[in-house]
Symmetry: C2
Subunit: 406 residues, 2 copies
């Protein structure tokens, strides 16, 4: 294999139609297929192919050799293999919560999967103030089923070590190591700090040595703790929803890391949605209550289901010793709270923003929103062992939110 | 490759001579070589080949498909590849402290290496009350150079992840997980408890729930914490010495784990040598003082050299944050102290014994020695964060040793 041969050149829309027809028999041979590149992510080209007559459709996702986020991050095209494997594994562990995979093609470096065009990206839906009553139930199930079953609690330790090897993901981990754990916490040139937030960042984030030390400890934990097979990028842009269904997509950052990472990541992104509502709109108390309730239920249901899964599935004898479950779950929660804090800070300070915050038009409101997120983030990082319930986390969010001046 | 083809059949002594002559040009073609199988380990066949005329010699180490410890542990013959790679790596990181590798042969599944016949196994030498004034200096250097340089402190994180993959060692890790972290702490059928020690074990070890919980936490840390590339089996039987030289051998258990594991393992085995002296001989205060001084110097020099290596070699930016070095080193020491405790217990209770203890002929003395080791081991496991200096560790050892009744 040479660089010229692989990865394959990115297909055109026309080539995708031909490919889908020839590669396998999903559509009728004489179907009139329409194809459109709909990717808005950072790493892949995403083609939607549909047959207007039968209404059948699917997605072809092809990896380019270079991240579309920035030429500085060159990520292995092998990530599509990882993504296919992990979608299949997650589909077994948490049936119905990930898109179905129809086909993986190593030569073309693409994966053909279920089309979720009827779904909305959760981030967008929340910005449109849509509510999904089952979201916390769905996500807590997804998290528990994927995290507990891939850990040394349940898996034979030899089999788990083979999975750690298979899902070693150096390039995409490096992105997280840099963008989440490192750059936001000092004046790195790639950071992008909003003018009105700058003096706060310089004094309260970059000027806080204790905070820096805690981020270093957390970074080393992220680098070394092969606890569970993570999604690795579980924000509201990686979740597709309908009124009754939830699908977690884009697991290309998957690797073995601290279980709390996924839990904290999604909570932080609910906080961004909440912050958007608080700092841009009046009279949305019901929606804000929904979001806080979702966070509280997510944390509490995660713990409840974790305990059940632990009790039902744990095969490791020593994990049944008195006190171990409490110790284990407490440390997962502590890690999760720390990641809430890291994510809250890095999306404000670092290069990769969230539209929940950048779309706040009023400069004053945006700075206040950002400072609220940073204040909360810092608290969660520094005092990460103090939040062991959904109620405690939600009270902390409310506490910061309440100092809004507008 | 089929099972029949690989691993290769174990060679006879005659076949080894032919192999060595033909495989590569270490000896003269017409040299009259003598070969003898000298293995007394558990996992390999070890042939010494020497030329009586030139006095040149070497070792051929061939892996059998099944551990010689017990048919219950089937370990991959691939361990010789791991051993070769790691000896070469350790030889680069800590020059002079491991045997030279001349040749690795995947088909024959053997490695040809420096003959250390002029050396003595450290365990035997200590039982003969020999002293090695530079031992603590040598071992602290070996530990620091191999552990710091393979960690995320120094290595590029992507390169480190590739090493984690290469040195994934499921079967030999399983042996440690079972024999060190699990079986000794409950009445497992494979345990082998000396009659006079049994009631102490039942009450103070198997009857202590807090101890059980701490061993479970430590087992999960061993299962998940890919901190540094360990030797993995660093007891006094894995160290060869002369009056001026120290060679660490048999790294076939090597894998990425908690750095404190190697440190604690060797300290515990010095304690066994100390215990042997205390419980079998009178008037050996000088030798006992030497052993305690070796432990104290080993711990203190490990810390001192660790700090120097950290300061000189660390490439990870966040590790330079104020307080991080102290945090990191403290946690390595804490892990080391816990492993001292685990090793002290498992060699008394579990299947794999040390001759330092089993050779104590007087039953009463042996029980007292064993109970002293278990008492100390339990203290170290339960209070592992309380011992951060060589002096503190040695005082604890002395404290238990002093209640000897004979």
């Amino acid at each position: 294999m040479t660089k010229q041969e692989w990865p394959a050149a990115i297909m055109t829309e026309t080539e995708v139609v031909t490919y889908v027809k020839e590669a396998f028999g999903f559509f009728n041979k004489d179907a009139r297929l329409v194809c459109k590149e709909i990717g808005d992510g950072n790493l892949n080209y995403v083609f939607r192919v549909h047959d207007e007559e039968s209404k059948q459709s699917l997605i072809v996702k092809q990896a380019g050799p270079v991240s579309r986020l920035s030429d500085e991050f060159v990520v292995s095209p092998d990530r599509n293999r990882i993504e296919t494997d992990i979608l299949r594994l997650q589909g077994e562990l948490a049936p119905g919560f990930v898109p179905k995979v129809y086909h993986y093609d190593r030569d073309k470096n693409c994966v053909v999967m279920e089309d979720l065009s009827d779904y909305t990206i959760l981030r967008t839906a929340l910005l449109n103030r849509q509510q999904f009553p089952q979201l916390a139930e769905h996500l807590s199930t997804f998290l528990v089923e994927t995290l507990v079953s891939t850990s040394d609690l349940v898996l034979d330790h030899k089999a788990k070590k083979e999975l750690v090897k298979s899902y070693t993901n150096p390039e995409l981990c490096e992105i997280t190591e840099d963008l989440v754990y490192t750059e936001p916490f000092f004046p790195h040139p790639r950071n992008d700090v909003f003018q009105g937030t700058k003096s706060f960042v310089e004094k309260e984030i970059w000027g806080d040595r204790q905070l820096a030390l805690e981020t270093a400890k957390l970074k080393f934990q992220f680098l070394t703790n092969a606890q569970a097979l993570l999604h690795g990028d579980l924000h509201t842009g990686s979740i597709f929803v309908t009124s009754s269904e939830t699908k977690v997509i884009d697991p290309e950052f998957a690797f073995y890391g601290p279980a709390g990472y996924d839990v904290g990541n999604i909570i932080a992104n609910f906080i961004f949605a909440y912050t958007n509502s608080v700092y841009t709109s009046e009279g949305e108390e019901a929606f804000q209550h929904y979001l806080l309730d979702t966070i509280e239920t997510l944390v509490d249901q995660f713990q409840k289901k974790f305990i059940t899964a632990f009790q039902e599935k744990t095969t490791e004898r020593v994990a049944h010793y008195e006190g171990f479950l409490e110790h284990y779950l407490q440390s997962v929660l502590e890690d999760a709270v720390a990641v809430v804090g890291l994510e809250l800070c890095r999306r404000i300070i670092g290069i990769a923003k969230v539209v929940d915050i950048t779309s706040i038009d009023d400069s004053q409101a945006r700075s206040e929103a950002e400072i609220a997120c940073l204040t909360l983030g810092k608290t969660f990082i520094l005092n990460r062992s103090d939040y062991q319930t959904g109620h405690g986390i939600v009270e902390a969010i409310r506490g910061v939110g309440s100092y809004v001046s507008h």
